[in-house]
């Protein structure tokens, strides 16, 4: 393999950049600050370019449905048309143009908000189906959930002011402890991964960039 095709070069690049960020954070060197700012912007631009990777696949996926006339293909056709139109308008007008604002306000915005809100129904039916006083853990979960539901609704404290007190206590003591335990554990995981990447021991993110045996 030619030397410039070696994986180690890109891994070295990764380590170098991480080190620059760490040094910049701990020492106040103006040149380094400018470098990290530039690198940060670059990361963003690369991410923006990468969007095409998924975009192409999405087109292929729905395009194939139309081509093969699989059941439900008219919906896929509508998707392809809608995507193409909005993409072209977006390229022409930019994100803040009149038509784009219309598409956002009339379609994307309400659809996004509605899907976000639909979770309430799934939560209610999940609670109805599964919240049963049948095991220790489900009883704990259910009791705490009831207390919080009553704490958060004004009626809870009208019925009994204790709901507010207990609910706040649960948030401030046991739940805070658990959140803290999880934060500590997760931080360890992230730092460990960071170290592996920094030391060039973790390179699974490079999968698929090597020479492939067919």
């Amino acid at each position: 393999m030619a030397w410039y095709k070696r994986r180690e070069i890109s891994m070295g690049l990764t380590s170098l950049v991480i080190l620059i960020f760490l040094i910049d954070f701990n020492l106040d060197i103006p040149t380094l600050k400018a470098v990290t700012n530039n690198l940060t912007t670059w990361g963003t631009v690369i991410g923006a370019f990468a969007i095409g990777l998924g975009y192409i696949n999405m087109y292929q996926h729905y395009g194939r449905k139309v081509q093969r006339k699989t059941p439900g293909w008219p919906y896929a056709l509508w998707l392809v048309i809608a995507t193409t139109v909005v993409t072209l308008v977006g390229a022409w007008q930019g994100r803040t143009g009149d038509l784009m604002t219309f598409f956002y306000d009339s379609f994307v915005g309400p659809l996004d908000a509605t899907f976000y809100s639909i979770a309430i129904f799934y939560m209610a039916s999940a609670a109805y189906r599964a919240f049963k006083f049948r095991s220790v853990e489900s009883t704990i979960l259910l009791t705490c959930a009831f207390i919080m539901l009553l704490k958060n609704a004004p009626i809870g404290e009208v019925i009994w002011p204790g709901f507010g007190t207990i609910g706040t206590w649960l948030m401030n003591y046991p739940v805070m402890g658990v959140s803290r335990g999880i934060t500590l554990s997760t931080t360890l995981g992230s730092v460990a991964l960071g170290l592996r990447v920094l030391l060039g021991k973790e390179y699974s993110y490079l999968a698929g960039t090597g020479e492939r045996k067919e």
Partner: protein, 233 residues
């Protein structure tokens, strides 16, 4: 406020998604496809804006460094070209490094040391039983929930007991989170209802809801739902 095309579309989109709650139907499938396509087109427009603001504009102002991310960005696509696949490594390597660099640098201080020092609480507070009890609970919850995530030894004996307590603490947290999350979703649902029930939209909303419900119900009774969306739901 006058009633316009946007108002009608908001109502149709919102109610089409909610119709999913009955069963998958032509309206919900239409909304799904509209959403997937348009949202992606939107993400694309956002990406174009990035590229314009942070690559093209600086380049036109004579900042030639800005060509580097453009080249790196284009290199992502070499994953699909067998003999140049190795080129795709560099943009990925740089993205990972920037992401890690930015998040790691403050993490140890902000999320590790400071959280430990905040947990260092006296287990006995003179004259205040509640504070004493509360502090004991916090320390116990932190220590046992960490124990729950300990993997190097089987959970037996003291470790087993600790992790079991940690497990129950996790379920307390699940319950409390449920209460909070549910409140949030109610608020979101309330936002949608507010949109539907605004005075100028109320009657149209009722009409559209009736049309959607009736259509779906009839299609369901006539066993035409599967045919209309292309699969059995």
């Amino acid at each position: 406020m006058a009633f316009g095309l946007t108002d009608l579309l908001i109502i149709v989109c919102t109610l089409s998604i909610y119709s999913l709650l009955y069963k998958n139907n032509p309206f919900s499938v239409w909304a799904e496809h509209t959403f997937v396509g348009m949202a992606q087109a939107y993400a694309f427009a956002i990406a174009l804006d990035y590229i314009r603001d942070y690559a093209i504009t600086p380049l036109s102002k004579g900042n030639y460094w800005a060509i580097i991310p453009v080249i790196l960005g284009l290199m992502t696509y070499f994953r699909f070209v067998d003999s140049f696949r190795w080129l795709a490594r560099f943009p990925v390597a740089l993205s990972i490094a920037v992401g890690m660099g930015v998040s790691l640098r403050a993490m140890i201080q902000a999320q590790f040391l400071s959280q430990i020092s905040a947990t260092i609480l006296p287990l006995f507070v003179g004259g205040d039983m509640m504070a004493t009890f509360g502090n004991i609970v916090i320390v116990l919850a932190v220590v046992t929930s960490i124990t729950f995530f300990y993997f190097s030894k089987p959970h037996e004996g003291a470790l087993g007991a600790g992790s079991k307590i940690g497990y129950y603490f996790l379920y307390i947290a699940f319950g409390v989170y449920f209460g909070n999350v549910y409140m949030g979703r109610v608020a979101l649902f309330n936002g949608r209802m507010g949109d539907l029930l605004a005075p100028e939209r109320l009657y149209v909303s009722i009409l559209v809801a009736a049309v959607i419900l009736a259509t779906v119900y009839i299609l369901d009774k006539k066993k035409l739902l599967a045919k209309s969306i292309g699969y059995e739901s």
